[in-house]
């Protein structure tokens, strides 16, 4: 099996750094502390003062969660069509090409098989750096196939979400990806293997209102933005400011929609234990 796997590309590590401001020092947006960048990287891109979690590339999550950072990738060749021939200030096809060039990926999900403490899992990980992790037909299809692979092999399913929601440029078809993925999760229920949904900053709108909310267990990193409606829209609708901590992981947990908040350094251990409890 091992020869099927390939190491996450070393070249993509620079992606992590790109999301952190250039230079030797950076400021934590949560607590304002000035942090030495080397220190930040050593702490898996989390603030050691307040536990704020900075962005973490999918390649880094792969190294963090999967045995030896190995995985067998599936469906990497799926590429978005342009069903609406959508154009705002830019053509959708140009946006896609730009995002592909920037990330080296075809769309906003990496998916396949991997092992967590020796147990095989089917996984999908969303990549925020690809058009905000937005869900169009390719994201929906790759998530759907990940669910189907988990169903077929009766193995645990791990989906790590990071997305602003559905991809407007695919109109109604992006909305329908919510139905596609959620309907397949109903099928996955039949095999009685655990689906662990991991929410990272941010997970909102169409993704939050479909598979991200349907885990047997739902865990989130601290201080992530989680919710359905966008904060600007809510502010406009109610004509008032939003309370502090609104739509955070802690808010979600307080209101009963999250099983657990887990620090990045403990993520693999907790996921692994959960799999073992439910397998």
């Amino acid at each position: 099996m091992v020869e099927w796997f390939r190491k996450s590309k070393q070249g993509l590590i620079s992606q992590t750094r790109k999301d952190i401001p250039e230079g030797l020092w950076t400021k934590c947006p949560e607590c304002g502390e000035i942090i030495y960048v080397k220190e930040l990287e050593k702490n898996l891109n989390t603030c050691s003062h307040c536990d704020y979690h900075f962005k973490f590339a999918t390649t880094e999550y792969i190294k963090l969660l999967f045995d030896d950072g190995l995985y067998e990738e599936h469906d990497a060749g799926l590429i978005s069509g342009d069903p609406l021939q959508f154009k705002d200030s830019k053509k959708y096809t140009d946006r896609i090409k730009a995002a592909q060039k920037k990330t080296g990926q075809n769309d906003a999900v990496i998916s396949g098989y991997a092992k967590i403490d020796g147990r095989e899992v089917s996984f999908a990980m969303m990549d925020f750096s690809f058009i905000g992790g937005s869900m169009g037909s390719v994201v929906g299809e790759k998530i759907a196939r990940s669910i189907e692979r988990a169903t077929m092999r009766k193995i645990p399913l791990i989906i790590l979400s990071c997305s602003g929601g559905a991809r407007m440029q695919e109109g109604i078809l992006s909305l329908m990806q919510m139905a596609k993925t959620s309907a397949l999760l109903a099928e996955y229920d039949k095999v009685r293997a655990p689906y662990i949904s991991i929410l990272t900053n941010p997970t909102t709108a169409g993704v939050m209102a479909s598979y991200a909310s349907l885990g047997d267990v739902i865990i989130a990193e601290p201080k992530a933005l989680l919710g359905f409606a966008g904060q600007r829209v809510i502010k406009q609708t109610i004509g008032a400011d939003l309370p502090p901590g609104f739509q955070s992981s802690e808010f979600f947990m307080e209101h009963g929609f999250l099983d657990k908040i887990v620090h990045r350094r403990d993520l693999k251990r907790v996921v692994s234990q959960l799999i073992s409890h439910f397998t």
Binding site: G77, I172, K180, S182, G206, M208, F228, F257
Partner: protein, 320 residues
């Protein structure tokens, strides 16, 4: 249109109608000349109506979908069912008035109705929250669908919402979870579900009661991932660009047939459903009845596997 709001593109029709009405009053004396003049104007009116309505832009259709005289869920219930009994509440938190549910008789068959409810005057609009549901609305809808499942009643869904309500309390009570839960449960509900989009179908707010065996769409309604205003505000940074966003989103019934998302477009009475509620209801009822009969020929497992396939196959992508 007798009273109320007249959309810009409806004006020539309304003016011509007024002229015909005036002439009819004069003609009550029995002038042959006037009568033939009226007849010719009526032919002109018919032609004009056909012309205007066959060339509507997407934005004009959005406006028709929002027409304050448009038939709402309760109008369809009144015109196509008998013995409807409204049932309230989610048994957990509250009764969401933006959605109306309950059993009824439809063409001699027992059914469960679930529909988003808009209203026409300010007080009622507030009472119905403009057809924007809270989490307890989605949970109430699911409770009624489970009730339908228990008693083997087909579910008739009417979609008409500008979106799920974006507010603090809605987030506190789990708007995302409520919608996600419904989508998954509707995919496996063991009774037929017929979805009818009668006005606006905005985003997750619509899809939260929008999974079923057949999706019907009234000719002048819209269904998309976001409202034209919302899309314009994000992509053009200007809500006034909504007409352009409506074009870009391809959100009309003919668009959705082409994209393989809906099953059938239902033509509305001349000039739109708002001009003839009863006529619109008859057209929709006939279609619902036809599809319901076809679904009921299948076994439950066949029905569910077709329902899954329907959504499983939606999307456009290719392999490099």
């Amino acid at each position: 249109m007798a009273n109320g709001i007249v959309l810009d593109f409806e004006k020539p029709i309304v003016e011509l109608e007024k002229r015909i009405l005036e002439m009819r009053e004069f003609a009550s004396g029995g002038s042959v000349e006037l009568n033939s003049e009226i007849e010719s104007l009526e032919r002109k009116l018919e032609k004009l109506t056909r012309e205007i309505y066959s060339n509507l832009s997407r934005w004009q259709r959005v406006q028709l979908a929002r027409h304050p005289k448009r038939p709402y869920t309760n109008d369809y219930i009144e015109h196509m069912t008998e013995g409807f009994i409204e049932l309230h509440g989610d048994r957990g938190f509250a009764d969401d008035k933006a959605v109306v549910c309950g059993p009824a008789m439809f063409h001699g068959r027992k059914v469960m109705i679930v529909g988003q409810q808009k209203a026409r005057d300010t007080k009622s609009k507030l009472y119905r929250n403009f057809g924007m549901m809270h989490p307890e609305g989605y949970r109430k809808a699911m409770r009624m669908m489970k009730l339908a499942e228990k008693f083997s009643l087909p579910v008739l869904i009417f979609i008409d919402t500008p979106g799920a309500y974006p507010g603090i309390a809605a987030e506190e009570r789990g708007q995302a979870e409520a919608i996600a839960f419904n989508i998954k449960e509707m995919a496996r509900l063991r009774v037929p579900i017929i979805i009818s989009i009668i006005g606006e179908g905005a985003s997750g707010g619509a899809l939260g009661i929008g999974v079923g065996d057949v999706i019907l769409m009234m000719e002048n309604s819209w269904y998309s991932v976001i409202s034209p205003e919302g899309c314009a505000a994000i992509l053009w940074r200007d809500a006034a660009m909504a007409p352009q966003a409506a074009e870009a989103l391809k959100l009309t019934a003919p668009d959705l047939i082409e994209l393989g998302v809906i099953d059938r477009i239902l033509p509305e009475p001349p000039g739109g459903a708002h001009r003839d509620h009863k006529g619109a209801a008859e057209i929709l009822a006939a279609a619902i009845d036809e599809h319901l009969m076809a679904i009921m020929e299948m076994t439950t497992d066949e029905m569910l596997s077709k329902r899954l396939d329907k959504f499983r196959n939606m999307g456009v992508y290719y392999h490099d």
